[in-house]
């Protein structure tokens, strides 16, 4: 028996973790900051991709209200973070949204543990 959703949620959570760590490292200066920025962007888009993949795969499946709310909040947070970075407010609000996104992924994992 192979359940897709816990695997997708797990991979998404791992990329969100890498995204969070690289985001925390963005305060560093110099050449290393360039790598951290690329990693942060790459893993951010990857975790957004897995979030969207979960939504798409779930369309024909059973929805729990908690999961629906979590995924909607997650996508809104991603969009907000992209917007905040675009308007050059990333340094001030980026970390708050990043932490909220990480908490959102925690809920996604929790929902998928016993309801595959």
């Amino acid at each position: 028996m192979f359940y897709t959703f816990p695997w997708l949620a797990s991979i998404g959570f791992i990329t969100a973790t890498v995204n969070l760590i690289s985001g925390l490292q963005l305060t560093r200066k110099g050449e290393i900051a360039v790598i951290e920025r690329i990693m942060h962007r790459l893993n951010g888009y990857l975790s957004l991709f897995f979030c969207l993949l979960l939504v798409v795969r779930k369309i024909n499946d059973k929805w729990s209200p908690l999961l629906l709310a979590t995924l909607v909040v997650g996508i809104l947070l991603y969009l907000m973070k992209i917007w905040v970075v675009r308007i050059k407010r990333g340094k001030r609000y980026g970390s708050h949204i990043g932490i909220l996104l990480f908490i959102t992924w925690f809920v996604v994992i929790y929902v998928h543990i016993y309801k595959p």
Binding site: M1, S10, F13, I14, T15, A16, T17, V18, L20, I21, S22, E31, V34, I35, E36, I38, M39, N43, F106, I109, Y110, I113, Y114, K115, P116
Partner: protein, 275 residues
């Protein structure tokens, strides 16, 4: 003489036609043909199908003949609540080949679905919530419980007492206040591909139950996973028992995230700085 013979022959033919029509299985619709499900069951003959439209019904059903009771649109829209909380919502007694499919059974201090001396019944696609126990089989053999959702009951999710050769598969049994699945003096049952999670006490318990097969069940986040006591000859294959998965899984995933971060940084350093 010929006229009398013709009349007798016609009469016999008419009687035979009426009897054969009566004995053919038919479909009864609730609430179109009968206002409640019990009235439809009482009126049905063995082999009849009762189709129940969406809605909430307050009844304690007693089924004593082989009939098929199905909801029209599944358990999300068809709920049967116990009229008398002390009695089961569905009670199948002393009969075979009953089908109960697509209902939410709720509000009984006894049980959602109760089979007593019943055989070859199919209980499928139902949801039993907030009852004493979810599904109870007593002295019942060769039944099939498939794809049911059994949650938030006061005692057990599925309880088998002195019942054998039943097949219980692809059910979700969660958040019950005692054991998830409990076999008591029950032999030769097959329990496969069930998800048993977040029950207050044991996930699955076999008590004085022999030669049962537990295959491919996921037993997660219960106080104890699978407990076998006073039993022998039971076969356990491919079952996943993770008691603390709720705590462990996120920790493992975060650890994997940190590892991936380190590896990624090494790779990018090699690419950008040729280190």
């Amino acid at each position: 003489m010929a006229k009398t013979f013709l009349m007798v022959f016609s009469f016999c033919l008419a009687v035979m036609l009426i009897l054969s029509a009566k004995s053919q299985a038919s479909t009864i619709h609730v609430p179109d043909d009968y206002k409640n499900i019990q009235a439809a069951v009482d009126a049905a003959i063995p082999g009849d199908t009762i189709i129940v439209a969406s809605g909430e019904y307050s009844e304690n059903l007693v089924v004593t003949k082989p009939v098929i009771i199905k909801s029209k649109n599944g358990h999300d829209t068809s709920t049967v609540k116990a009229l008398l909380p002390s009695a089961p919502v569905f009670k199948v007694i002393n009969t075979d080949t009953v089908v109960i499919s697509g209902f939410t059974a709720a509000g009984s201090a006894n049980s959602g679905i109760y089979l007593y001396r019943a055989g070859k019944c199919e209980i499928s696609n139902n949801k039993t919530v907030r009852n004493g126990s979810g599904i109870v089989l007593s002295l019942s053999d060769n039944n099939h419980l498939i794809n049911n959702e059994i949650a938030s009951n006061e005692k057990f999710g599925i309880y088998l007492e002195s019942s054998g050769a039943n097949t219980i598969d692809k059910n979700t049994v969660s958040l019950n206040n005692d054991k998830g699945i409990f076999f008591n003096l029950s032999d030769n049952n097959t329990l496969s591909e069930n998800v048993v999670s977040s029950n207050y006490w044991d996930g699955i318990t076999l008590w004085s139950s022999n030669y049962n097969t537990l295959d491919g069940n996921k037993v997660l986040r219960n106080m104890y996973g699978i407990t076998i006591s006073n039993s022998s000859g039971n076969i356990l294959i491919n079952n996943s028992v993770w008691r603390d998965i709720y705590v462990l899984l996120p920790v493992i995933l975060i650890y994997m995230g940190i590892m991936l971060y380190v590896v990624e940084r090494k790779i990018f350093r090699i690419i950008y700085f040729k280190e």
